[in-house]
């Protein structure tokens, strides 16, 4: 299990992430979301032992990962900014990683290059951005990692390869009992494959949920009152309302807190129509992240 305990990372006097805590169980994928610059990459580099945390620690099966050769021999970190040796082919990079990873499998490497139709003898510099991503993921999977960190690794992939890689990662995680942390802007990708996700906002992890409990804290209700019964927003004051959207008689409420209590309270207002809708990961992200509702008409006056 990966345990992240109160991790803080500062760049000089600037705090990039603060008191991040969560855990990743064996055989699960953890999705990390957050707006640009929220600190996802900083967190992944800290969790991979590239950066040293200013506070807290990241434990891999109970051992601090920083400068821990034994545990890191089973960790593969795929950064957003990929590195390949100058003029290296995939074969040469395989040789490089084989030098450091005890479980590196040329058999897996060969099979995956074939699956992804990559030529392991060609210079990677000549690959497209998407092919380079695939190449890096092939190399990562060939190391048979127990811990796999993927930073925006679906960027630049075509839909087919995206699905293939998602399936590959999920299947591998389940079969090998691996621990995967993946950060992405594409929330759809994460919602498909993650068992749990966390949202970093304002330097902190503000959400850490299982995907199956995604609606536990948030609920979206669509309701309408009888014609002429124009209830003001104040009637919802007893609820922890995040947002009220009116479209004619149709009202959409996004509410935090216990859904049973929310439903009871709404029903007391005697709506003529009420429906509870599931919240997508993207909607939750939008709700949590501030500043998304700019009135751009004010900017372009």
């Amino acid at each position: 299990m990966i345990e992240v305990k109160n991790v803080t990372k500062k760049y000089g006097s600037y705090t990039a992430i603060e008191n991040i805590s969560f855990s990743v169980k064996e055989g699960t994928v953890y999705g990390l979301i957050g707006y640009n610059g929220a600190g996802k990459t900083t967190f992944l580099k800290t969790a991979a032992g590239v950066y040293r945390a200013n506070g807290g620690q990241v434990l891999f099966d109970g051992e601090n990962i920083y400068d821990n050769a034994k545990r890191k021999a089973h960790l593969f970190y795929v950064p957003d900014d990929l590195y390949f040796q100058p003029y290296a082919s995939m074969r040469k990079m395989a040789s490089f990683y084989n030098g450091y990873y005890p479980l590196f499998s040329y058999e897996t490497f060969d099979r995956l290059t074939e699956v992804f139709s990559l030529d392991p003898t060609k210079s990677i510099n000549g690959f497209s951005k998407g092919m380079q991503r695939q190449a890096e993921l092939v190399l990562a999977m060939a190391t048979n990692p127990t811990y796999l960190f993927l930073d925006e690794s679906f960027d630049g992939l075509d839909p087919q390869k995206r699905v293939m890689i998602k399936n590959l990662v999920v299947d591998y995680t389940r079969e090998r009992g691996a621990h995967v942390i993946i950060s992405s802007h594409n929330l759809h990708d994460l919602s498909d494959m993650c068992d749990r996700f966390g949202l970093i906002n304002g330097k902190k992890l503000i959400i850490d949920h299982d995907m199956k409990d995604i609606g536990k804290d948030y609920a979206k209700y669509r309701l309408a009152f009888a014609e002429g019964d124009d209830k003001p927003d104040t009637v919802f004051d007893g609820l922890d309302i995040d947002r009220i959207i009116r479209d004619g008689r149709l009202i959409t409420l996004i509410v935090r807190g216990d859904s049973l209590y929310t439903e009871t309270m709404i029903k007391k207002l005697e709506p003529v129509y009420m429906e509870k809708l599931p919240m997508s990961m993207e909607e939750i992200f939008m709700e949590e992240v501030e500043g998304v509702d700019y009135d751009f008409s004010q900017i372009f006056k």
């Binding site: 760049y11 580099k45 991979a48 032992g49 590239v50 950066y51 040293r52 400068d67 050769a69 034994k70 545990r71 890191k72 021999a73 089973h74 960790l75 593969f76 970190y77 950064p79 900014d81 990929l82 590195y83 490089f96 084989n98 030098g99 450091y100 990873y101 005890p102």
Partner: protein, 810 residues
């Protein structure tokens, strides 16, 4: 089982890291290997091969010699090639720096750091595996060169324990030198964010002692008028040698080289480059010093420095370095501050030493201003943030205060210490360097002339260092001049004085002196020590088949009968006669010349108070021309005539003209009665007779060039040495010099004498050599056959029709 497996995994990563770094280091180390093989393999091979297969021009055949009989070992250097050692060390430093960059540049790249720091290898292991890989390749490269030298020595001179010891020593020293540069680079790269900073700071840290010493020397030479550090002169030791064996200039850097990371092995490299067998002894180095065991203390401390730097680099800097610093400038404030102040100190002191100044305060302000400007530019470049830059401005007054304090201490002459002149009763002996122009250097000061006999505009950094003098008169003369000089901060000439005190201490000082002081110092040439030196040179025993080291010690000594030629050259510098002598006559002539030189006073010589008859030239009889064409020598000593006319080329004064061992020219004046009487006694009194007829003599004032000394020259001489002159030679070399030299500003066309009576009078008055002391006249002598030569007319001898001409300086 698990623990066993993880142990092997750890080894696997470390091994791969080591191997990959080995490959990375191979390329730059390849250049180092080539350098070492060239240096320690090819150079000794060629030298030893040539030694055994040289060509004897005097015999016209190959020389067959055995290197075994002469060399004990020849590792690298043979002779006066000390400057090459600097070049070698510089090249090794550059390549070691490159290896360090190649192996550790990954630390300055975000992408590589992401990968390397996430790998299953501890940071210290990563550092040390890569470090040792680079170190191993560097040491192997050095070993290749040393092994090459060993093989070459085995082939030519055979093995010996001294050879093995010296090679091991040089191997240790050069390896350490390489490793030191490499280790510092590795440590610096472990603590900075960019490659450019890594390179700059590595160089800055390694050069720090050198730069500080150079800067201190610049400060000293600029602000302390009487210290010798930083003095750019080359004092020449009096030797009976064609080549002037100069002492190295006084330098803080050379004095403290043992403590300098880039120069600590320089002296050892110079010393143990070669070993000669001589009279059953082993002599080493370019100066043929007696064999001494290599000093462990010259290298051992640096071994610990390397270890310390490696430990600090690997276990502190690399392990604790912040990966997030990659790609960012100015993340290491300590190094950036050190290098900044290093640059400021160097630039400002260099500025201080290079410019002419009128008062110290204004020059201090300019230098300090330059330093502070550098500070501002450097900080702006590093910060690139105006707010942060202004926050740091507090350092400016601090830096200014340090500069002012240093300046204040130096301006007081280190609280007066630098102006100390010892009392005569404190002094055991004194040696003084007398500044002279090119045309009067070395033995010429005592009436024995070598060199090319040209007028030269001397840069006055040529000095003639007298032997240690202990006579009361000499001590009084020197301390008298020194006391006056100590009050000055500037002067026409620079001289050095070295006291050996009776309490065992020594004191060396610089003196700014003028013509009056030079006149006083010239009297030192009359001291018994100098006169004794003349005898030593003339009577030097010349060894049979001298080794280079013997040659160095004995001098080339042209005053020996075998292979020697004595030529009398007339005043016009064109007409010359070889004087054929038996060995007995030759030795008698030597003694006559010696007696005259010892009897001639310095005052008489420099003031040229006696008419000058010509030049008596002693040479080896092996003239070889620039184009290598061989001129057969006159081997036998059978001669039919006492005087034999010599073709003009034989009297050419161009130093390139001869590749003989050497040449001495003795100026003969009418006061040299012993010599003249001897020549008369053997029927050679006409040897100096001139055939050429003078057509005219033109005059220029010598006052504008006090640094000129009167000396002869002739057209062909100047043509042969034209590379010494920037001016156009014109249709006539001598005329071209006169007409085109920018220093001669006056129109001398009106200052001409063509009257035959006056010319006859002038011919007796014009001198081949005199010291002008800032007065007198240059004479361009034109001959009826179209040739020209130059002579000098001292002010005191000049007739009215010469002094009456109009000279521009008047």
């Amino acid at each position: 089982m698990t623990s066993h497996k993880s142990l092997s995994n750890k080894k696997k990563g470390a091994f791969y890291s080591f191997v990959s770094a080995l490959k990375t280091a191979m390329l730059p180390c390849g250049f180092l290997t080539l350098l070492y093989v060239g240096l320690f393999g090819i150079i000794p091979f060629m030298k030893l091969y040539w030694y055994e297969n040289d060509f004897d021009y005097s015999a016209g055949k190959e020389i067959t010699r055995s290197a075994k009989e002469y060399y004990k070992f020849l590792v690298f250097m043979d002779g006066d090639e000390e400057e090459i050692c600097y070049l070698v060390l510089a090249m090794i430093a550059v390549i070691s720096l490159l290896v360090g960059i190649a192996v550790f540049r990954f630390t300055a790249d975000k992408r590589t750091v992401n990968v390397y720091y996430s790998l299953g290898i501890k940071r210290s292991t990563l550092f040390y595996t890569r470090y040792f890989a680079g170190a191993l390749v560097l040491c192997a490269a050095v070993a290749v060169g040393i092994i090459s030298s060993y093989i070459v020595n085995l082939i030519f001179v055979g093995g010996s324990w001294q050879l093995s010891l010296v090679l091991f020593y040089l191997y240790s020293g050069l390896s350490l030198f390489s490793l030191l540069i490499y280790t510092v680079t590795a440590a610096v790269f472990s603590s900075v964010g960019t490659i450019s900073e890594g390179v700059l700071y590595s160089a800055g840290v390694l050069a720090l002692p050198t730069v500080v010493l150079m800067s201190a020397q610049n400060l000293i030479s600029s602000l302390l008028s009487n210290t010798v550090f930083g003095l750019d002169i080359i004092p020449y030791e009096l030797k009976g040698d064609y080549y002037y064996w100069g002492n190295t200039r006084e330098s803080l850097i050379s004095r403290f080289s043992a403590y300098n990371p880039v120069l600590f092995f320089y002296n050892a490299l110079v010393k143990y480059g070669v070993g000669y067998k001589e009279d059953g002894k082993l002599l080493i180095g370019a100066n043929s010093d007696e064999w001494v065991f290599p000093s462990v203390f010259a290298v051992l401390p640096w071994f610990f420095v390397v270890i310390a730097a490696a430990v600090i680099g690997g276990t502190v800097l690399f392990r604790l370095r912040k990966a997030e610093h990659c790609g960012f400038l100015n993340t290491n404030k300590v190094l950036s501050t050190v290098v900044l102040f290093e640059l400021m100190f160097f630039a400002s002191t260099l500025f201080l030493s290079e410019i002419e100044y009128s008062d110290k305060v204004s020059i201090f302000l300019l230098s300090a201003g330059l330093a502070l400007m550098m500070y501002i530019l450097f900080e702006i470049f590093l910060e690139r943030n105006v707010r942060l830059f202004f926050k740091k401005l507090w350092k400016l007054p601090a830096a200014g205060a340090v500069i002012a304090a240093v300046f204040a201490v130096f301006s007081t002459g280190l609280f007066g210490y630098e102006m100390r002149v010892p009392q005569t009763d404190e002094i055991q002996s004194v040696s003084v360097s007398v500044p002279v122009s090119h045309s009067v250097i070395s033995l010429r000061n005592m009436g024995m002339m070598i060199d090319d006999g040209l007028f030269k505009i001397g840069s006055f950094n040529w000095h003639y260092e007298l032997p240690a003098l202990s006579g009361t008169d000499a001590l009084k003369t020197v301390t008298g001049v020194h006391k006056e000089a100590a009050k000055r901060e500037d002067g026409d000439y620079v001289s050095t004085v070295s006291y050996t005190l009776k309490n065992g201490k020594s004191l060396k000082r610089k003196m700014y002196i003028g013509n009056d002081d030079i006149k006083k110092l010239f009297t030192l040439f009359d001291s018994p020590e100098c006169k004794e030196k003349i005898a030593e040179i003339i009577n030097a025993v010349y060894p049979e088949n001298p080794t280079p080291s013997q040659l160095t010690k004995a001098g080339t000594s042209m005053f020996r009968y075998e292979n020697a030629t004595v030529t009398a050259i007339s005043k016009n510098m064109f007409d010359a006669n070889r004087i054929n002598l038996t060995e007995t006559e030759f030795n008698a002539l030597k003694q006559a010349v010696l007696a005259d030189l010892q009897a001639r006073s310095a005052e008489s010589y420099y003031n040229a108070d006696k008419p000058q008859t010509g030049i008596l030239r002693f040479t080896t009889d092996v003239p070889r021309w620039i184009d290598e064409s061989y001129v057969p020598e006159k081997k036998d000593r059978e001669f039919s005539e006492r005087l034999e006319s010599v073709p003009g080329e034989y009297t050419d004064f161009g130093i390139e003209s001869y590749d003989a061992y050497g040449r001495y020219d003795v100026l003969i004046d009418e006061g040299m009665t012993n010599t003249l009487a001897f020549l008369q006694s053997i029927g050679a009194s006409a040897c100096f007779e001139a055939q050429k007829q003078i057509k005219s003599v033109s005059f220029r004032s010598a006052a504008i060039f006090s640094e000129y000394s009167g000396q002869w020259s002739r057209e062909s001489t100047r043509a042969a040495s034209r590379e010494f002159f920037a001016d156009s030679m014109g249709t006539s070399a001598e005329r071209g010099f006169w007409e085109n030299d920018e220093n001669f500003v006056e129109d001398y066309s009106e200052n001409i004498i063509t009257d035959s009576e006056k010319i006859r009078e002038l011919d007796a008055l014009m001198r081949l050599h005199a010291y002008n002391y800032g007065e007198g006249y240059w004479c361009l002598v034109a001959y009826t056959d179209g040739n020209y030569s130059s002579r000098f007319l001292p002010q005191s001898l000049a007739p009215e029709y010469v002094t009456g001409f109009k000279y521009v300086h008047e």
